[in-house]
């Protein structure tokens, strides 16, 4: 790892240390007994430690480490998505294709850096293959709905998430060998935007921004979180190939997309009558609860960077 990467991880470690300290102080001041909001905050902070350590560990192994990490992330996300979306017995071949063919193939293509195929593999080839497989069973009940669900799950959990490691395939002049930092920048900005929206909302939130979709999100949280995260993204321009103002604009873009992603994924959860996608990350819910914003930010970020810099 080069100096910038170490500096970045040291910074994140310091931030988490501060968060843990605040969480501990809040708990100490509140006294013994369960405090739902504070306990959840501390669970979230602890989960962040684990997530940062896992990402740091993957970074140690470079390109391969990151591709394998996001393969696992996509697997868990796809599994959460498919578990919550009802399919019928005749969808079995399509689901087998999703888990055992599309998922490994997408990451293999990213591993070998074949942009021409990984960019269209799921949106074109799987888009056509899945309904073909589903039709084999001869079951027409809610056919369009069922095939759409499998396709949508693949797009969100595999295609969109795989745009993060796809950043490694970009060849940016003057930025050779540092693409891992671009991933770090994207993940930091999107996630810190989520965290700051949560913090600003808890501290100053009064007006609900989308009461039907996501009752915990507030106008104050949205503006405060996005503004602060944009500022942080801009001031981290030194780890990116961008100038200060470019980093700022990109940060604003991914924060807005991330926010919208949170709302869309929340609409799906509410329609299915659940609060969380899963239970694997203590305090956060499932993998998709943590990554809903990344799903929407990563593909657009990847393609724009590739268009102007790649």
């Amino acid at each position: 790892m080069d100096r910038n990467t170490l500096l970045l991880f040291a910074g994140i470690g310091g931030l988490l240390l501060l968060a843990s300290l605040i969480g501990w102080l809040l708990k100490y001041r509140a006294g013994p007994g369960p405090q739902p909001v504070i306990d959840n905050l501390n669970a979230r902070i602890n989960a962040w430690w684990v997530m940062v350590l896992v990402i740091g560990f993957a970074f140690l192994f470079g390109y391969t480490g990151v591709v394998v990490l996001f393969y696992c992330v996509s697997f868990y996300a796809l599994r959460e998505f498919m578990t919550l979306t009802p399919t019928r017995r005749s969808d079995y071949p399509a689901l087998v294709a999703a888990f055992y063919f599309a998922l490994p193939m997408q990451y293999l293509l990213i591993g070998i850096g074949w942009y021409g195929l990984f960019a269209i593999f799921i949106p074109v080839y799987l888009f056509l293959l899945l309904p073909i497989l589903s039709s084999l069973g001869g079951d027409t009940t809610r056919f369009l709905e069922r095939t759409s669900k499998v396709q949508w799950g693949l797009m969100i959990a595999v295609y969109c998430i795989s745009s993060v490691p796809a950043l490694l395939t970009l060849e940016i002049a003057g930025y050779e060998g540092r693409n891992l930092l671009l991933i770090a920048w994207l993940v930091i900005v999107v996630q810190i935007s989520d965290v700051l929206q949560y913090v600003c909302g808890k501290l100053a939130g009064k007006h609900k921004i989308a009461p039907k979709l996501s009752p915990s999100k507030t106008v104050e949280g949205f503006f405060g979180g996005v503004a602060l995260a944009t500022l942080i993204g801009a001031s981290l321009y030194w780890i990116t190939p961008f100038a200060f103002w470019q980093a700022g604009l990109f940060a604003l873009l991914v924060c807005l997309l991330g926010f919208a992603g949170g709302l869309v994924m929340s609409a799906i959860k509410r329609d299915r009558g659940v609060k969380d996608w899963g239970h694997m990350i203590e305090g956060h819910g499932g993998m998709l609860d943590r990554l809903d914003s990344v799903c929407f930010a990563a593909p657009v970020f990847f393609h724009m960077v590739r268009y102007w810099w790649g």
């Binding site: 498919m82 578990t83 079995y92 299915r272 659940v274």
Partner: protein, 206 residues
């Protein structure tokens, strides 16, 4: 040795594949003698229920299985007898004089807990089939043993009938409150109550 190694491998694989999240909604995971009864939609049902119990409970909990299916072939009979320590019952009643319940009552007599599927066969539709009466007779014979409903959600999607390759979807097992048999309660009323208690858990899932 080999059997317990295989048991470890199978339960780990089942948990890894399905996440096997156990929700103790009306009871806790205590080492009390129990009859767990569950919905039956896949051959993996008892494996998953067995795997989701804490190790110390698992040691004393035995699945009840049909000998017509499980005694066919050396591998199956090794698995059910040595690995899962199953209680085999004769569903066909090949000898009219034999009481198919006797094997289960014997196991209860030894202090073991049981896993039973009162629908009697795998159910391919939603909901539950009518219950067989065995559950009632056991509850009546052994009122000291807790009867606990367990709803297994999603496993029929993980391993659909007739498919070899399982799908890695998440499964949840909801353990309900012990039923208890009322003094006056007849067979049909008890079975109806047991069936409704299990269906109620299905609605509570997620």
């Amino acid at each position: 040795m080999l059997a317990s190694l295989i048991a470890f491998f199978i339960t780990s694989a089942a948990r890894l594949l399905t996440g096997a999240r156990a929700l103790w909604l009306g009871s806790t995971a205590q080492a009390v003698q129990r009859i767990y009864y569950a919905n039956h939609s896949s051959h993996g049902d008892f494996v998953l229920l067995w795997a989701s119990l804490p190790a110390e409970l698992r040691k004393r909990t035995r699945p009840v299985a049909g000998s017509d299916y499980w005694m066919k072939g050396a591998l199956r009979s090794f698995l059910i007898q040595r690995v899962f320590n199953g209680v085999l019952v004769d569903r066909q009643r090949s000898e009219p004089s034999s009481n198919p319940l006797q094997a289960m009552l014997d196991a209860l007599e030894q202090g073991d807990s049981l896993i039973v599927f009162p629908e009697g066969t795998r159910n391919m539709e939603d909901g539950l089939l009518p219950f067989k009466s065995g559950l009632y007779h056991m509850a009546k014979a052994r009122p000291d043993v807790e009867v606990i409903p367990v709803w297994i959600a999603n496993l029929n999607r993980v391993m659909p009938k007739g498919r070899a390759l399982p799908l890695p979807l998440l499964c949840t097992l909801s353990f309900g409150a012990p039923l208890g048999l009322d003094e006056e309660e007849g067979k049909d009323a008890f079975l109806e109550r047991a069936r409704n208690a299990l269906l109620a858990l299905a609605l509570e899932e997620v």
